[in-house]
Every structure is written in C-alpha cells, then in structure tokens.
Symmetry: C2
DNA sequence: TATAATATGTCAATATAACTTACCTATAAT
DNA sequence: ATTATAGGTAAGTTATATTGACATATTATA
C-alpha cells in the first residue's frame, strides 16, 4: 500500500464528489434548449451518441447507454415524434437498424452542444496540453475499471 | 480560437461522453450494498456527503446536492428509518440542524465506499502523481465553469 | 431443414428520484 | 413589529428507469 496523499480515503471521497458534480454540471448547462424541445437528459444522451456514432445500431446504443430496451425505446419514440432521427436497415443483416440524426436532429444537437461544450472548452483552454492529456488518461482508466 | 486538437468538437464530444460514463460507473459499483439496505443512489450521495462533511446543515446539503427540500427530505426520512443519521441543533442558531452519521451510518458508508473507491483507487495507483494532480486540476476547472 | 440465436419491439406494472406549487412553524435579524 | 432565514410538509406530477413476459423477423448453425 503506497502512502501517496491522493490515495487516502479523504482524497478519494473528494474526487468521487467532484466526478459527480462534474457530470451534473456538464449535463445541466443545456437544460434550456432541452426544455424548448420538451425533451430531457435521456434524449440529450441519445442525440449526443448519434452525433458521435452516426448510424449506430440499437444494440450498440443500448450497450453504450446501459439502459433497457424499453427505456431506450421510449426515448427513440419521442425523437421520432420530434422528427429528429431516421432509421436505415443494414444491407447485409436486415435485423439490424442503424440510427441517424436527420437535418433537424443535427441542428438540435448543435444547439445543445453549443451550450454544453462551453464549460469543457473553457476548462481545457485554461489548461496546458499536458494537463488535458493527463485528465483524459486518468478518466479513461477510471472508466476501464 | 486556438487550433489545438483537444479543443475540436470531436474531442469535446468524446470527453463529455467519458464524463458521463465515468460518473455512471463510479456510482454503480456499490449497487449491491445499496440493495442490501434497500436504498438508492440518492441515499448514497447523502451518506457520502455526511461522511465528508460531518454535521453539515440541511441548507448546505441542499446546496451541494442541488435538489429540492422535498426531495432531500424523502431521503433523510429513509435514512432516519434505517437508523443511520442523527440531528443536532446548532447551539447558537437553533434554526439550523446539523446532520451526522451515527455508528450504523458510518458502518454502512464504509461498506459502500469500500466498493466504490476501488475503481478510483486502482486508476490512481496506475497513474503518476502528476497525472493525478492534473486530472484533479482540470476536473476542478470544469466544475467551476 | 429444423432449431437456436440474435436484433428488435411492445405491453403492463412498478420503482426511483426528482419536480412544482403551496403553505406551515420556529427562530433570528433588522 | 416586520422581514428574512432554516426547515418541514402535503398533493400532485414528471422523467427515467426497472422487471417480466411475450412477439416478430432474420440469421446462423447442427
């Protein structure tokens, strides 16, 4: 057991609180835009992933979100009603559905993202490239358990 | 506008996804313990803060959690029923209530924390002290907007 | 070809955590 | 005396998720 300060319980508690607050703040900046379209955090996350992974399949979306089919389906139905997403069947395996943002969906994502990214952008702008790289590195290690 | 790679939209999107996943994973490791005591994520967060800030007042808890009184009250009632917390009136201003974990509360927190901290601990153990310091630094900047 | 596995959809019921609006008491500060 | 602060509560609602069960279409495999 190393005796490093940052491996002590108090520091770990502090980091855990920061991870929570960081997440909460990062996903609350765009609330006004979500309200404008009568959607919520769950929809924002899906739109975000659709923007990152164009044509992602339903099962891969599920794996990334770690929610149930039923839960995702509600969100997708809302997004269809809002006319923001389209589906395309896989040409080889027609069981697979690929999901895409259409033009309206992309526009709404950009509105959300414009607000959401500000916080991160400013934090990174105010940091050295090494700080940023290390932030990313440690976060990745946390994720990969 | 700097032309740094990590300030590009794709990288910002990637970081935002990581912040979400990092949070979700960090707060899901202890689910089994929560189930054991029939409590949820909201209770875990309160217990966590009570462990960090012994004797914190209700209003300061509310400010840290950013939820409504009604929402916090439900959680506190559950924790009272579970016999994990106690209150002490402020000796000077008796309107203020200080909240503490009792022995049982502290024991349950340790059970939760033991599982939860593993992920963070291992990530930090696998990192240099500079990486950890930079992680903390950037996270703080994200929080402070 | 029959069977199993995969990808997706859906119904019903329930749980968790939060919200809004409104009103209340007690105490402290001005 | 009035206002502000700290906290509590009631009723109704919303957002997001769950479990369990069942259905369909398609692909892979024995």
């Amino acid at each position: 057991m190393k005796e490093l300060l940052y491996l002590k319980d108090d520091q770990l508690k502090d980091l855990i609180e920061k991870i929570f607050v960081g997440y909460r703040e990062t996903f609350s900046d765009s609330k006004k835009i979500l309200d404008k379209y009568s959607i919520g955090l769950a929809h924002q996350k899906v739109i975000h992933l659709l923007s990152m992974y164009e044509g992602i399949s339903i099962s891969k979306l599920l794996a990334k979100l770690k929610v149930t089919k039923q839960s995702l389906n509600r969100v997708l139905k809302d997004l269809i009603k809002l006319e923001t997403i389209v589906f395309k069947k896989d040409e080889i395996d027609t069981r697979i559905k690929h999901v895409y943002l259409n033009e309206k969906g992309k526009k709404i994502f950009e509105e959300i993202f414009l607000l959401q990214k500000k916080r991160i952008y400013n934090a990174l702008l105010d940091s050295s490239s090494e700080e940023v790289i290390n932030f990313d590195k440690v976060l990745k290690k946390i994720i990969n358990g």
